[in-house]
Structure formats: C-alpha cells, structure tokens
C-alpha cells in the first residue's frame, strides 16, 4: 500500500480524502495514460516511421494481449492450469478464415462467430475434463490441444492441411476497410482494449471473487455453496471465447494462417506471458504479453543468439521474480486504488460491490 495515500476503507467516511486524491483521480489518470499510449503514441510512431515491421509487431502484441488476458482468466484467477490454449486460438482463426473465404461472410459476423465456435469447443472440452484436478487437468488440455493441432494439420479437405489458408479478407465494417497498417492496428487495438475491459470487470467483481475462492480451495468453496463445476466450466468457456476472438483477429490481419501457428510451443509462450507477468493479475498479463513479444523483436540485432537470450531472460525473470512482475497482491492493490470502485465505501459506510 502506498503510504501517502491512505486506504479509504480503513478510515471513517468523514476522514476519507477527497476523491481527486484517492481512487477516482488516479484511476482517471492511469486510464487516460494507457489509452493515450495505445491510441496516440503507437499510431503516431507507426505513421511517423511508416514502418510496416513496427505495425506488425504492434498488431501481434495486441492479439497476444487478448490471449494472455484470457488465459489469465482461467489459469490465474480460476486456478486451472491450461496448456492447450493455442488450440482454441487456432479454432477461432480457422473458423474466421473458413467463414470469410468459403461463405463470404463479413467481419462483423465472423468475429463473434469465431469466438462462439471456440467457446463451443471449449465447452465440449470442459464438460468431461472439469473433474480432473491439478496436473491431470493440465495434461488433458495438452492432449486436447495437440489433438486439435493434428486435426488442423491432417484434415486437408477442409483446412488445406500444412499449406494453410490464404487470401483471408482484411477487417471491414460496413464498407469501411482496415486495409492500411494504421487502421488495421487501430481496429485490433480497439477490440483488444474492449476484451481486456470485459475481462477486468469480470475478474474484479463478486463473480471474480468466487473464481478466486475456487482457485484457493475448491472443496472449501463447494461447501460454502459455490457451484464449483459450473464456475470452472464457465471460466474455461469465457477464456476460449476470447482466444477465438484473438484467432479471428490474426486471420483477418495477417491474411494467411497455417497449423504451425497454433502448436504446443505457442500455448507455452502464452503461459509464459501470464507467469512472467504474474499469475492472477490482469495488468500482469498485459505487461507479460508486451514483454514477451517486444523483447525478441528488440533483440533481433543479435541475430542467432536471439532465442537463447529470450530463454535466458524468461529464466532470469522467473528466478528473480517468482511471483511475476506485477504479482496479484500488488495488482489488486493497484486496481483497488486506481481502477475500481468495488472496494470503496460510500458515505454511509456500506460497501459498494456487485453482490
């Protein structure tokens, strides 16, 4: 806790500092800063340098922000270690690609459809696997992820196998086409911010607290009247939905997808983002995605040693910060102070929440 800004919950309502100095002012400032970076500085840099390489990195980063935030929802908050997340990303990508190239559906249909199809698969996967605990669940998701990869690779009639799908149309809304780098980035960034916002509201609500209870001790949560099975399935479905959205964005921005984009190593990369950022912390997931995408690109100058350096950095960051860059405790305090009114008290002293 910051010493200079007293925690509003600990003081009588009359002594609480004015809003401008506590939660709301800071929340406003931080949100403004983040939005300014996402929608001001990055597009300015893309336009200023005119570099397609930079724009491509920015778009990839935004897609991975969605992926790591969604994995954080199921692995960090609900405590189900999933190592097959890339497969649902792949299902979303293939769904969007097939719907738009074979049926000619517009982006506004393929985006939610990709999310829903991935969520449907997530639901089907979750139903039988949810009674597995800890490492058994992780291995089951690994197995299912690899099964989906094998199907994408070998079902040549539909997915064109290792050749991948080409010529996926770009993002397009009511005749407006995101065909320049800048508009493509902006479209992806808007969707990414919206996804993170939804996940943020979900995690930092009463519902999110139930998920945390589930993570800490599911038997105990069960005895407190929480429907454990259903919550687990719901969190998995939500995570796979957002993974599907990310897949659709990849398909529409890169115009080409192949099964190799959705292998086990990709799942591990997403998990690494979440762990390096801090399990259970949404700001951590975002920072982790930035870190793990931007770092390899920044190291491109040292060429052959790049992946060695990535491995070493990952190892060192886990070694020195085993709870992540923005550990959940820190992140929750940060969120309480800056972003959410869920923990603030109003004049009468009754907590405002989502109960």
């Amino acid at each position: 806790m910051d010493v200079n800004v007293p925690d509003a919950r600990l003081m009588p309502a009359t002594l609480a500092p004015p809003a401008a100095f506590s939660g709301r002012g800071r929340r406003f400032a931080w949100t403004l800063l983040l939005l300014a970076v996402a929608f001001g500085a990055v597009p300015a840099a893309i336009v200023g340098t005119g570099s397609s390489y930079l724009a491509q990195i920015a778009i990839t980063t935004m897609i991975f922000v969605i992926l790591s935030a969604s994995l954080n929802h199921v692995t960090g908050t609900a405590g189900l270690l999933s190592i097959g997340h890339a497969a649902f990303y792949g299902i979303g990508a293939y769904a969007a690609a097939l719907l738009s190239t074979k049926l000619g559906l517009p982006f506004i249909v393929t985006l939610p459809a990709a999310g829903l199809i991935a969520a449907l698969f997530g639901f089907l996967v979750a139903l039988p696997t949810m009674r597995l605990v800890s490492i058994y669940f992780a291995v089951a998701t690994l197995g299912i992820g690899e099964m989906i990869y094998v199907v994408l690779l070998n079902w040549v009639d539909v997915t064109r196998g290792p050749m991948g799908i080409r010529g996926i149309p770009p993002i397009e809304l009511f005749g407006w086409q995101a065909d320049t780098l800048l508009t493509r980035y902006l479209a992806v960034a808007v969707i990414a911010v919206a996804c993170v916002w939804v996940l943020h509201r979900l995690t930092h609500s009463y519902y999110g607290n139930a998920l945390r209870a589930l993570r800490e001790d599911d038997q105990c949560a069960d005895s407190m009247g929480i429907n454990v099975e259903r919550l687990k399935i719901e969190s998995f479905v939500v995570a796979t939905f957002f993974a599907g959205i990310a897949g659709a964005l990849l398909a529409h921005t890169s115009a080409y997808i192949a099964p190799d984009n959705f292998r086990f190593m990709e799942s591990i990369l997403i998990l690494a983002m979440v762990v390096v950022g801090g399990l259970g912390s949404l700001p951590g997931a975002v920072v982790g995605a930035l870190f793990m995408i931007v770092l390899p690109e920044a190291l491109r100058d040292i060429g052959d040693y790049r992946m060695i350096a990535v491995g070493a950095t990952m190892f060192l960051s886990i070694l020195l910060l085993p709870k992540g860059m923005l550990a959940e405790g820190t992140a929750l305090g940060f969120v309480r102070r800056s972003f959410s009114r869920g923990w603030a008290t109003i004049a009468g002293g009754t907590p405002v929440g989502w109960k």
Binding site: V275, L279, Y305, I318
Partner: protein
C-alpha cells in the same frame, strides 16, 4: 498368413518404440515423485545423449559398447546440472505459503521449460538445425530373422538395454540405501527429512538416475533411426509425459506399461491410418484414460494436490 507376420512385426517395432518411451517416462516419474514438479527439460537430456553419442563416435570411433557408459555419464552430469540450474533455486523458499503457492509451482515448471528452450537453441547454434546422419558402421538396422519374422537389430538392442536398465533400476530402488532414500522422499519429503535423510542429495541422485535413462534412450533412437536433430527430443518427451500421466504419475510399473501400450498402438495405427493421424491415437488414449480413470490406470488414491 502374410498379414499375421506383418502384424507381429509391427507389434515388435511398437514394443521397441515403447521401450524408448518407457525409459524416458521412468525419468519423468522418478523426478515427479521426489519433487512433485514436471521436468519439461527431460526431452533435451535425450537430445544431449544422442548428440554426445554422435560426437564420440565421429571423434574416436570406439566400439559400440564403450559409447553407452559414456552417454550414461553425460546423462548423469546433465541431470545434476539441470537440477542445479532450474530446480535448486526454487527450493530456497521453504515457508508454507510459498510451498503451497500455485505461482511458485508454475514458476518451477516454467523455469525447466526456459532452460530447455535455451539448451535447444544452443544446440541448434552448435550443430545447426538440420538432421545429422550417424556413420553407417554404427547403425542398428541389420535385419535379423527370428523364425518367419524379420526384426531390425536395433529393436533387439533396445529391448536388451531397457531390460538391463529396468533391472538395475529395480535393484537400486529396492535393494540399496540410496533407493530407500528416493522412495522415502517420494513418499513424504518432510517426513524423510525428519528421519535424517539428506533430501537435497537424494533429489540430485534422482535427477542423475532419471537423466541417465533419458540420455541412453536418446542415443539408442539415434542409432536405430540413423539421424538426429536438435528438435528430436520434443515428440518422445511429450509421449513419455503422456505415459507417465496415464500410468498414474508416481507408479513406475504403470509408466512402463502405458509407454509400451502407446508404442504398440502407435505402430499398429500407422497400418490403418496415415502416419499424420497416428498422434491422434496417443492423445485420445490419454484423454479417454483421464476421463474414465482420473487418477491414471495404475495410480492409487494419491492425495489431492
């Protein structure tokens, strides 16, 4: 009866692949037993075994039997090094909160993964990403006739080596003081420490033993297939991991049985399906096992983790 002979040959090929998976799965099982953490760098130990074997063969051209002890030694050294780099640092947190913390457990898992990425990339840097051929004098591909069945000599070598190593492992675990220590730590680490077992040393020993088995599997497959590459460790690593989980995480006979089952079902599946789909069999076996036997086929009521 052409089909039957062919079928039997496929079964024998499958069993020899299964033996390789079994050697790796035992390493996984031993390490998971003592530490309760999955070691994702096990596939790299297998690759190191294969490459060191190749280096020794090209440099000195020793007799085949001399390669094996050398690979064993290299496996032991890499296991000890791996433990020191990727696992030891995370055991410095001994308070209860850290030990129960999910973040800590996942951090250990990912540190082994990070080490495996580094090792693989360094090997790529040294040896290049392409397949490397084994000198033909060392290849274990001569056909041997057993009655009507033709078997590659490599299969027989793999059977013999696995049998010897499994026997040695049983001896180590059930007839020696060290094995008693490993079993004690695997059963209850804190309890083992209370009765005076040096848990750190036991864990290091376990890593050495498990990695010896993994490295041997690597060089055997290299000699059998005739080509090795820095990426060769991934597929058998995942298969061995699957075998361990199907067997019930902490049961060595279970891991061996499931590894053999996987090997045989894969090689039979290539007969009916194209080879691209054969991995589907492995993973569906895994998922079916987990759904109907959530503790694995040979697991027995392990405490909830």
């Amino acid at each position: 009866m052409v089909f039957d002979v062919f079928f039997l040959q496929q079964v024998i090929n499958g069993l020899s692949i299964g033996c390789v998976y079994a050697l790796m799965a035992i390493g996984f099982t031993l390490i998971f037993g003592v530490l309760n953490v999955v070691n994702f760098a096990h596939g790299e130990v297998y690759t190191i075994g294969a490459f060191v074997g190749l280096m020794v063969i090209t440099a000195m051209a020793p007799p085949l039997l001399a390669v094996v002890p050398l690979v064993l030694a290299v496996g032991a050294v890499s296991g000890v090094g791996l433990e020191r780099i990727a696992f030891r640092p995370f055991r410095r947190f001994t308070d209860e909160a850290s030990q129960k913390s999910r973040a800590m457990r996942e951090a250990t898992l990912l540190s082994s993964l990070a080490v495996s990425i580094m090792t693989r990339e360094i090997m790529m840097h040294i040896f290049g990403g392409d397949m490397q051929g084994i000198p033909s004098g060392y290849l274990l591909q001569q056909p041997v006739a057993i009655g009507p069945i033709m078997v590659a000599s490599g299969s027989l070598v793999i059977f013999a080596t696995s049998a010897v190593m499994l026997g040695a492992l049983q001896f180590l675990l059930y007839r020696t003081q060290t094995g008693l220590g490993i079993r004690a730590v695997s059963n209850n680490q804190l309890g083992a420490r209370y009765v005076g077992i040096n848990t750190d040393r036991t864990i290091v020993t376990t890593f050495a033993v498990g990695s010896m088995l993994g490295a041997t599997a690597g060089i055997l497959v290299g000699l059998y297939d005739g080509a090795i590459s820095p990426h060769m460790g991934f597929a058998p690593g995942v298969k061995a991991f699957v075998a361990m989980v199907m067997g019930g995480l902490s049961s060595i006979p279970g891991a061996v049985a499931c590894a053999l089952l996987l090997g045989v079902s894969e090689s039979i599946a290539t007969e009916f399906l194209s080879s691209g789909w054969k991995d589907l069999i492995t993973y569906s076996l895994l998922v079916i096992t987990l759904v109907f036997f959530p503790q694995g086929l040979f697991g027995h009521g392990r405490e909830r983790a």
